[in-house]
Amino acid sequence: MTDTLTPVLTDMWDVERSWTRAAYESKGGYAALDKAFAMSPDDVIAAVKDSGLRGRGGAGFPTGMKWSFIPQDNPRPKYLVVNADESEPGTCKDIPLMMANPHVLVEGVIISSYAIRANKAFIYIRGEVLHVIRRVQAAVAEAYAAGHLGKDIHGSGFDLDVVVHAGAGAYICGEETALLEGLEGRRGQPRLRPPFPAVAGLYASPTVINNVESISSVPSIVANGADWFASMGTEKSKGYGIFSLSGHVKKPGQYEAPLGITLRELIDLAGGIREGHDLKFWTPGGSSTPLLTPEHLDVPLDFEAVGAAGSMLGTRALQIFDDTVCVVRAVLRWTEFYKHESCGKCTPCREGTWWLAQVLTRLENGEGSEGDLDVLLDQCDNILGRAFCALGDGATSPISSSIQYFRDEYLAHLTHGGCPFDPARSTAWAGVEVTA
């Protein structure tokens, strides 16, 4: 277990104009490209496999294994699609990464495309973050100008074109098959699997879809070797990752550290919880991962340990809530998000999120009864694992976990006839004299 930060992707965020090619190359950027071209594509896949890199988008599927599923005897073109539709409440790693260091993503895209033998790659960026779209577009243009993209890259004979695609504003398009639908110009709703994207993805062709951070990790693996990467992290969750701390900590931000670091260590790095308050609950990986509490402060933040604690590592979006926060209020706000973002394809998610929000609203207002909690839990049981994709599952996580840990607080709303908390106390300006 390490207690130090390992800045790799974030290493050059403090460099002057870090997002430019010049800055990136001055730090050794695009050097991994030639190293990769000297290897066979299969060797690149093997290196990523050996590194133990697991998908950084939340599910943690081994990246190298995903690449090896691409049937290379399929005569259709292969595609690499980068999922940059970062929309999960609390998750804020890909957007700052693309803002501060877009070229590491571009370099990762080139090496990854080379490995899976794709000559066309797409970066699907959440449509709301226009500044990021512009920055990545500029980086891609710079890379073309420098000969890192286009025909016969670095004399390797490898051709690659990269398209930066702006999403149209739907959380569901972070789901990989819905993303493909959107990329094809269709309505963003998840596809039936099988066929899996590796076999018939974008335009019915073999397609790899990876998260921004996964792809951006590839250049460092190629440059420093799989062993270097695997030396970090825990036994089954290797390497480093960006941990995004938000909420009631003194220094919120991105902390890049080996997987397996604990929240206690991260909060220390972030200067501790807001003055005069204690940690009440937190999410390990965005709102779709079940809540954890102070008793989980020493859970190693890797896929296995967080899973054993009853949650999921997810996107390492650590939202920190102190004791001023009403858990019912927080959960209702998340639930309203899921209700708004449910794509509507399947019944449990479409109708379930609509209903969950209504029951929670009643509870927050101090209406309803204790029996409503059992109804809520039963609704969650009827959604979890019954929905078409993981959006429905994610919508139940905050509800069922919050009732598990904070049942009494729900009941307090009923006895109090409304929310017993003062929402102003949880704000950033709490305690500050505000005058008009």
Binding site: C346, R350, D381
Partner: protein
């Protein structure tokens, strides 16, 4: 109907469902494998003829073993999961997990569904209602205020209701459970994807683009497959309750497809029609015409009693015996005065057609009988005798299933989306499955051909014989023994075309089928309503065949010479050579020369008209006998395949008699009884007579140079286009009837008619540029002015107009068959 369903053992997969072992074919979905053991898993989005989607999640089952020793941790949608060897499935019957999952989904489905079942059209036949009872919770836990404000806790989502998706189809969005059956049908089956999901979450709904309503010839099917009352029929909405209806299987009378339908009636009136389910024929789909066009039989102009011409010249009501007697007397006199012709139209059931065929020969002593109330030719009659009659499933006939297995299907003179909807749907299914390539000899790529991803062989009207022959020489078209050639009845207007098609089939080994437009056409061929054919395909010219029939009918002999065809009957009446006419359901406007046909009826010394509704023909007749519509009698149509399509009587109406009963009455009065008075008796006699087993009539190939009679051919060097007297360029006219048009059997349903494609003239870009958006066509029968539209690949020198979508139709108002037209407009 025998279908070989033998599946090799190797293709069977063994699964255990609710403890019962069953072997099902590979790739069977779990939901259907469960049906094999008698378990109905509730479902909404699943439909056996649509691709799986897994949207509604109602069919969740527990899979403790996926066949690999491991189970699924979560319930699985059985509508998307194929079976695997050794799979164990526990449905709601044995698995509490599956049962709870299904009840949970049902509860979700109902929270935003209005409880307006008492006023909903679907109430009583609603899969949501039924399955909520069988697989849902007794009471919902979704609770709300009695009078909630929209969006407040406890509020159901509401929408203004209903909205029109098309003139036929209404959408009540509140009731919709967005299973996507309708959008998938529109996209996958009909190829008219004009409805789609819009918005998201609980606000997700079916929508249309503002300027593009759901116009499809097959739109009504979405109403039928909607598992809730979200899609309703403008025509049927609020008309009746399902439990008040009596349902009778029927066969659609609007085309030659023989589509199975269900007729729902209440208190002697047809309330609606639905698609029947016949996997061999129309599967579960019918055209909108088959579904919505039935009001014609229930209109004010329906004939309900016999009439005879009084001494003062007016028609007066008569008793049946009097009408029979007057008709018999008049026909006997007309028979002496040169003879009587019989025109039967193409809409008869086979039994009635048989009665006309027998009546002509036995009572009138003539072969002057023809069912073809449309442009026709002697070549066609010979073709029908040599290549069509007596073919059928199991007897060399092309079937729907053959279309699916054929590598190529060549369409000549046939636009199946307009003229044979069920056939077109089957072609599309086969094309989408990657099995069949469609090649069309047509003047342009029609919308129907486009949706079949078909290949156009550009063919101007009149050029078909040459182009058909060229198919043989050009290997690229691949017309060989794996191909099927479908020829439409329109080819009768092109001399040499049917012969060329027969020659193509013979030389290439391709199979050939004739696809007429009307439901009774093929039955009339089989039963001898032709001047050259006796019932059962017996050639008039064959003495043995005549003896065969005469013996069966118990008459001394039958007229030995081939009779006059429809055109010749008309000409003979006008010339006074024939003394009388028996006419059944013929609209003069359909015939090659409408004016001549009207003149013939006026000129005829004595006319007996048998018809459903009052028409110009009945008004001119001497004896008018009402006949039963298809709902009021049992009967049989013969599909284009040659497949008998019997159906039972739907409505009991003692005053409504089939044609054959009237003919029997007249024949008895004439002293030449037919030997039957009911449909059942006629059918028994037809079966006893049986098909001809002797020599089939040959097809004398007429001279090939028929194209020489056409103006402006494209043979060899392009010659200067022909011009009329005013020097205007003569254009060849391509035309056929659209599925929804001014046809008389579509009378009475304004909603259906509102979905008709607006009449336009399709022209080449050059013509459009020269004449602009409105053009006037002038032919030998008149002029019409229509909006012009460019058809990209229309053959030069051709203009297309719909045959019966304006005025009295092309034959009355524009040009005779095969005649050229000239274009004017926009010159100033």
């Amino acid at each position: 109907m025998t279908t070989d369903k033998t599946v090799a053992q190797a293709d069977l997969v063994n699964v255990t469902i609710d403890g019962i072992q069953v072997a099902v074919p590979k790739n069977t979905l779990v939901i259907r494998a469960a049906e094999q053991v008698g378990v109905q898993i509730p479902r909404f989005c699943d439909h056996p003829l649509l691709a799986p989607v897994g949207a509604c999640r109602q069919c969740l089952v527990d899979i403790p073993d996926a066949g690999n020793g491991r189970g699924f941790p979560k319930p699985q949608a059985s509508c998307t999961l194929p079976v695997a060897e050794g799979m164990v499935v526990n449905t709601q019957v044995t698995s509490p997990v599956a049962d709870k999952a299904q009840q949970g989904i049902m509860e979700f489905l109902l929270i935003n569904h209005p409880l307006d079942c008492p006023v909903c059209d679907k109430g009583g036949e609603c899969p949501l209602q039924n399955q909520a009872m069988s697989n849902g919770r007794g009471e919902s836990r979704f609770s709300g205020d009695d009078n909630p404000t929209p969006g407040a806790p406890g509020a159901k989502r509401t929408f203004p209701k209903p909205i029109n998706l098309s003139p036929n189809v209404l959408l009540d969005r509140e009731r919709c459970i967005v299973c996507q059956r309708c959008t998938r049908f529109a996209d996958e089956i009909a190829g008219d994807p004009f409805i789609a999901l819009v918005e998201r979450g609980a606000e997700q709904q079916i929508g249309i683009a503002e300027d593009a309503p759901f116009l499809s010839y097959f739109s009504g099917n979405v109403i039928q497959i909607c598992p809730v009352g979200a899609l309703t029929s403008e025509q049927y909405r609020f008309r009746s309750r399902p439990f008040d209806l009596v349902s009778v299987p029927g066969v659609a009378e609007h085309d030659a497809c023989g589509s199975a339908i269900r007729v729902d009636h209440r208190r002697g009136k047809v309330m609606r029609r639905l698609a029947g389910n016949d996997p061999e024929v129309n599967e579960e789909w019918i055209t909108d015409k088959d579904r919505f066009a039935f009001a014609y039989a229930q209109g004010d102009d329906r004939l309900t009693y016999p009439q005879v011409r009084d001494e003062d010249g007016s028609l007066r009501p008569a008793s049946w015996p009097e009408a029979f007697a007057v008709a018999a007397r008049g026909l006997a006199a007309a028979k002496q005065a040169g003879g009587v012709g019989v025109l039967t139209g193409g809409r008869l059931i086979a039994e009635d057609a048989y009665a006309y065929a027998k009546f002509a020969r036995v009572a009138l002593g003539t072969n002057d009988v023809d069912f073809r109330a449309r442009p026709h030719s002697a070549e066609e009659a010979a073709f029908l005798a040599s290549n069509v009659v007596l073919t059928g499933p199991g007897n060399g006939g092309v079937t729907y299933a053959d279309l699916e297995s054929a590598a190529k299907v060549v369409l000549v003179g046939l636009e199946p989306e307009d003229e044979a909807g069920a056939l077109w749907l089957r072609l599309r299914k086969s094309v989408r499955a990657g099995g069949t390539q469609v090649i069309a000899l047509a003047p342009y790529t029609t919308r129907g051909l486009h949706k079949l991803r078909g290949r156009l062989v550009p063919t101007a009207p009149g050029e078909e014989p040459a182009v058909i022959r060229s198919l043989l020489e050009q290997a690229e078209y691949g017309v060989d023994s794996t191909a099927v050639v479908l020829v439409g009845e329109r080819l009768a207007t092109v001399p040499g075309a049917l012969s060329a098609a027969a020659e193509l089939a013979q030389k290439s080994g391709a199979r050939l089928a004739w696809v007429p437009r009307r439901a009774g056409d093929r039955g009339a061929v089989e039963t001898g309503c032709l001047p050259n054919l006796l019932p059962g395909g017996r050639p008039v010219g064959d003495a043995a065949a005549r003896v065969d029939v005469a013996t069966a009918w118990g008459v001394a002999d039958l007229p030995a010479t081939e009779g006059r065809d429809g055109d010749a009957i008309v000409a003979a009446l006008v010339a006074g050579e024939l003394g009388g006419l028996v006419v059944a359901g013929v609209d003069p406007a359909d015939t090659a020369d409408p004016a001549a046909t009207r003149a013939a009826i006026d000129a005829a010394g004595f006319v007996v008209a048998l018809d459903l509704r009052e028409t110009d023909v009945t008004r001119a007749a001497d004896v008018v006998l009402p006949v039963a519509p298809v709902t009021d009698k049992a009967g049989m149509f013969v599909s284009w395949e040659g497949r008998p399509r019997p159906f039972a009587r739907a409505l009991a109406n003692p005053a409504s008699l089939p044609d054959l009963r009237s003919l029997a009455g007249i024949a008895e009065e004439m002293g030449a009884p037919l030997g039957f008075r009911t449909v059942e008796e006629a059918r028994a006699e037809m079966e006893q007579l049986g098909p001809w087993d002797g020599q089939r009539a040959g097809l004398d190939t007429p001279p090939r140079s028929s194209a020489a009679t056409r103006p402006a051919t494209t043979d060899g060097d392009r010659v200067a286009p022909a011009r009329d007297e005013q020097g205007r360029i003569e254009i060849r006219l391509a035309t056929w009837k659209q599925s929804v048009d001014n046809g008389r059997m579509q009378d009475g349903d304004k909603y259906l008619r509102a979905t008709a494609r607006p009449p336009v003239a399709l022209v080449t870009q050059a013509t459009y540029d020269a004449h602009g958006p409105t053009i006037t066509l002038t032919g030998d029968r008149g002029s019409i002015t229509l909006p012009a539209q460019v058809a990209d690949d229309l053959v030069d020198g051709v203009v297309w107009v719909p045959a019966n979508s304006f005025g009295n139709g092309v034959l009355s108002d524009l040009a005779s068959p095969g005649a050229p037209v000239t274009i004017s407009g926009g010159e100033s």
